[in-house]
Symmetry: C2
Subunit: 355 residues, 2 copies
């Protein structure tokens, strides 16, 4: 290991690399990590010296707050390498902003941009050999923060750890995605933490999603918990519905994550002259549109899954299959988005940021 120092970040380089043991053509999502990680601790009311160091386990006390009270948030972003070996981020300011919004809701300290952004850029540069060129290759980025104070009393921690991990990634889902529309279980409460990327929101979905999996559905589309009549979002994706040639998606709210892919697709669709309506979408409306043949597409939108076409949905034990169509909005939007991300199409929106 060799230690160098940039202006602010201490860099402890790994003396070895795992890169040669990785099969970049066959990656399970989120399973492989690069040689280094970024870390910064919050203690005594302030952020301590940030460090980039070899990816490795760390010591933790059994009474650490994150284990007992779930005070933890994360983000999901991606980096892309273009044909000139330049590395690009996609709307990183959106993730940075949302991370701190999540931090506030979870009573955690906000992370300064100098730590989040410079840490991320420095880490990507150090492990740049892990970022592969070509469409379909991406570097998934996982910034996260956990409560590291100790003591089993249900109060906010006074110490935190912020980290960034890098994980080379291919596609998230493989195979066809069928969804189940939630009738009983819910993801978020009014006045709850649904719009925060809080760790606890995800574990809450595992059991109902397992039940859906057993019936042959890969994902659940959540509905509002009070009436189960409004379509909200999927576990890790916002959802779009195409009825005739109009694209519909629910407005973001306290219950729904304000997805970067969602807002990007809305702008892209509009720029293509597609009619987009952001308004509550009712389950009943979807069922009727399916019955009368006007429902053309459903797709999920998220950083990990990008744009994910859905082949059918189930509601009250009835399965509704989607038609196979030409000129799918999902595929057009996905193509355009990934071309912008990989610098293969003009970025007229100014979304891509060079590392």
């Amino acid at each position: 290991m060799s230690t160098t120092q940039t202006s602010k970040i201490e860099i402890i380089k790994s003396s070895t690399t795992k890169i040669n043991s990785v099969d970049f053509e066959n990656l399970n999502f989120g399973a492989v990590f690069t040689d280094h990680l970024f870390e910064c601790d919050f203690k005594n009311g302030k952020w301590q010296k940030p460090v980039i160091k070899p990816y490795a386990p760390f010591l933790i006390d059994p009474s650490t707050r994150v284990f007992h009270y779930g005070q933890a948030i994360f983000e999901g972003m991606k980096a892309y390498k273009d044909d000139n070996d330049d590395i690009w981020l996609f709307r990183p300011d959106e993730n940075y902003y949302r991370f701190n919004k999540s931090a506030v809701r979870m009573a955690m300290p906000e992370v300064p941009s100098a730590i989040f952004m410079e840490g991320l850029n420095e880490l990507l540069r150090l492990d740049e050999a892990w970022i592969k060129k070509g469409k379909g290759n991406t570097m998934y980025i996982r910034p996260f923060m956990i409560a590291t104070g100790t003591g089993v009393v249900a109060n906010p921690s006074d110490e935190y750890k912020f980290m960034i991990l890098l994980s080379p990634a291919k596609a998230y889902y493989s195979g066809e995605v069928k969804v189940l529309i939630a009738e009983h279980f819910s993801r978020a409460a009014n006045g709850g933490i649904g719009s925060a990327k809080a760790a606890g929101n995800y574990a809450a979905q595992f059991y109902p999603t397992n039940l859906a999996n057993k019936e042959g559905f890969q994902q659940v589309i959540w509905t509002d918990d009070a009436t189960h009549t409004k379509l909200e979002e999927a576990g890790t994706m916002n959802v779009f519905f195409r009825i005739n040639d109009t694209l519909l998606t629910a407005p973001v709210s306290e219950r729904i994550l304000d997805g970067v892919t969602r807002k990007t697709l809305i702008d892209l669709a509009k720029s293509k002259g597609i009619d987009v309506e952001v308004r509550p979408v009712l389950v009943q409306e979807l069922v009727e549109a399916s019955k009368n043949g006007t429902l053309k597409e459903i797709f999920g939108a998220g950083t990990a899954a990008v744009v994910n076409p859905i082949v059918g949905f189930s509601f009250r034990e009835v399965y509704y299959e989607l038609p196979k169509i030409e000129n799918s909005y999902a595929l057009q939007l996905k193509e355009h988005l990934t071309n912008i991300q990989h610098k293969l199409a003009d970025d007229t929106f100014g979304w891509t940021v060079k590392v």
Copy 2:
């Protein structure tokens, strides 16, 4: 360290003890732990060999699921030492049952009784010097389970760690407790995880509770998230309301934790001839009862706080003070309950279990 082996649990004894450094008269809740902890890992689809070992930090990977997706549950119980130096648990089967109920809802493996109960008993016997005699002294017990599988993909883990920590405890709250009735924020959704003792439920409450603290309220009483008209529970306590001489408390539901203290107090109150109504209690009803003088008491009920009288509540910026009364139900019930727990009163219900 010396290693012995009971029938099933490996015991690695600490070669030193921290007990002499502890001021048992001035304990902050949940801050001090005994010399040992109990641990059992779940791997390859089964529970591994349980072990009791010195309390110490352990190594963990940064991509461990509990950090990213909040898959974590816990319990809170207490042990008491009577004047004959016998150690007693209070309704431990209730906590064991609830723990596994939480496990199912969070898509985690259930813990066999042979691990949970024998681990707990063995640990209490080993660290029995830490359990002090006399009313007001208790040993707080924290069984918990975390997802220890690695990888940043939002699916249930395939590995888990179950642990039991012991923390000597005095009172939970000190000073007067005023509460704020939630009008905007919520604790749980219909079809959500409110009735599970899931870690994420607690961090979700920190921010709104901080806001309440700033206005001078120690706790929030949560209302149903759909209408905010029904009184549900506090952060770590169920809630009772006394209007005239009737004791009211909300029915448990998917949104409300089925508290052991709550069900115990219902039985105790009934045995004293107190009229108890388990039914939805409306905020409006509480406000009216306060205005017309029929609201006599509000109190919280939970293992940590035992029975906690509340001196007033705020709703829509108006503060309603509770009268000072003789023959408070809260104090009568607390006295009776703690006498049973400390073996100073007959346990006609069969709630206490000898270790």
